[in-house]
Assembly symmetry: C2
Homo-oligomer: 341 residues x 2
């Protein structure tokens, strides 16, 4: 699927609700090619993310490597490359202009792929804890680096696991999209959290952690530094959040100890979901504060996981209105009772 049109991607703003959307029209050619035939990924297909196939990807941006190994050759443990079909481009000037009543920006930003292991493994949860910790370090390092670019104000780290969750390759990987705008979900969370803080005088995530611990019914894992739970108003069955107890607004400010523990907690959470739900497709997204604010009291970064279990998601897709057939208390109990190493 090579780019056939070098049109610069654009960020366009919905004038009614203020949602920015990336229009990246050179990612595909003909409308028919985007019809989805329902097939999964071929497990025997060529794997461009395999150690030894480094020339199948654009040159690496970052890699954690064994000493004395060369960039873009074997010897790495976690590797970051530009997305071959980027939704945004890092080169160019950031322009922001009106188009009649509409607003449009040049699609400046970064779209990177984090290859989580050198061998062909589909599940992050099966990697060693130290490997998962290095994946988290890479997330952090890339955010810290891209934050220096004053054109960019928000970084979204996410993972699509499985074809039904949008993955086009089965080799375990995540993605990073760094934007000159704040995604509407993050913006709404920041605003909601700020309003709560103004009204109650306490951070909402701290109150949530306190109530979840007191109630206990929605808790999946309670570790020293993290609470894993199914949120009260879960949109999807088995929606699961990992929230740090020390309440910091920016993921990239995570401590060494935080990453050490998060490696364990993330592995266990994914293992539980995979065991309980028979290796489901899933997405996870790290919600974190924009680059252009310093530490804020009212917001707390966190990771949201959505197993992709039902097609009942039909109309929720565009309507933003959700019907969840599994109570979060039932999902949490089920996950708590699923024993993992």
């Amino acid at each position: 699927m090579p780019p056939v049109d070098s049109t610069m991607p654009e960020l366009r703003k919905d004038p009614i609700v203020g949602r920015w959307v990336i229009i990246a029209p050179d990612r595909l050619t003909r409308p028919q090619t985007i019809r989805d035939n329902g097939n999964g990924l071929a497990p025997d297909a060529y794997d461009p993310f395999l150690e030894g196939n480094e020339d199948a990807t654009p040159p690496e941006i970052l890699a954690y490597r064994a000493p004395h190994t060369e960039p873009n050759g074997p010897g790495w443990r976690v590797r970051v490359v530009p997305n071959k079909f980027p939704a945004l481009r890092i080169e160019g000037e950031l322009t922001n202009r009106g188009d009649g009543m509409y607003d449009v920006m040049s699609g400046i930003g970064a779209h990177e792929v984090i290859i989580e292991c050198p061998h062909r493994e589909t599940n992050l949860s099966r990697l060693a804890v130290d490997n998962i910790r290095e994946v988290l370090w890479v997330y952090r390092d890339r955010l810290v680096d891209l934050k220096k670019d004053s054109r960019l104000i928000h970084g979204l780290i996410f993972k699509n696991k499985g074809a039904l969750a949008g993955a086009s390759l089965d080799h375990s990987h995540s993605q990073l999209i760094v934007n000159p705008i704040i995604p509407i979900t993050i913006q709404e969370e920041m605003q909601g959290a700020e309003a709560y803080h103004r009204y109650r005088g306490r951070p909402i995530f701290a109150d949530m952690i306190q109530q979840e611990l007191a109630t206990g019914t929605r808790v999946v894992i309670d570790s020293a530094d993290f609470l894993v739970f199914c949120p009260y108003a879960s949109r999807f069955p088995f929606e699961t959040w990992i929230v740090p107890k020390n309440h910091t607004s920016h993921f990239e400010n995570i401590s060494r100890q935080g990453i050490d523990e998060m490696g364990v907690v993330l592995k266990q959470t994914l293992q539980k979901l995979e065991l309980a739900l028979d290796d489901p497709p899933y997405n996870y997204v790290i919600h974190s504060s924009p680059f252009d604010v310093q530490e804020v009291r009212h917001y707390c970064w966190h990771l949201e996981i959505f197993p992709k279990l039902t097609r009942v998601a039909g109309f929720e897709w565009g309507s933003g209105f959700y019907i969840n057939p599994i109570a979060p208390e039932d999902a949490a109990r089920f996950l708590r009772e699923t024993e993992v190493e």
Copy 2:
């Protein structure tokens, strides 16, 4: 899939962004049963919506029938029945209470199915225009009727077409969910439209129609009373909106002439999408003002159609952040050039 638990459904509010979610825990039994095996609908399966199979559904709420035919027997053209697995229940008291820091309401409301034709037809677009008009009349009649219930303040009419869009039966049908709350999408649109009106002194939908007509590149159909176009900041490829030019806030206040024309316009729009995209799964949703406000100047009801073309929707699902690989101008041109009767 019979209900195994008679727990009342609940409406729960996300404390951060204020989004209400329906938790309807009796719709399914075990977590495993909600795994989606990727199969479509069996075209030879028993059809509970067929004329003659009226006893396969709960008793009808409304039907347009031939004279002298009996309720719940043959002779109908369009028929409305309660959803057999309702997300909300019409019986009971509407309670609204705190649950610590959270808010919860009893899941009072209506969840109905509109069976669009007596014979087995999968595509609304293949029905005669008069049949489609009667479907629209039924939408209107049900909203007008449910509006009398002072516990309920918003009605969402939507269609899931095809298994990939969430349909569990292939016989052409739509659904109606009437809520004691306003879905967050509608609330955000109302707020955004009001802010625009305050600032510019003009309704946003009127400005949009004017600019779309002046530009022309995103227009699909321009009829006397409706504009069909691909919105400037389309979230999905081939997202298409049908907006009335006379700018009314409530769908249920549509005129006789409006329905006459909308029948034609909806049929043509769906025919174009189906011809251009090879009969894709799709969802449509009617966005309309809440029951508890009279006609408002700033908002305009409209119908949004989302063909379900890509699985690239992976992480957009939960993140609210969209990457659209097809420019709306390209989609609109393609649809304009697709000739239908």
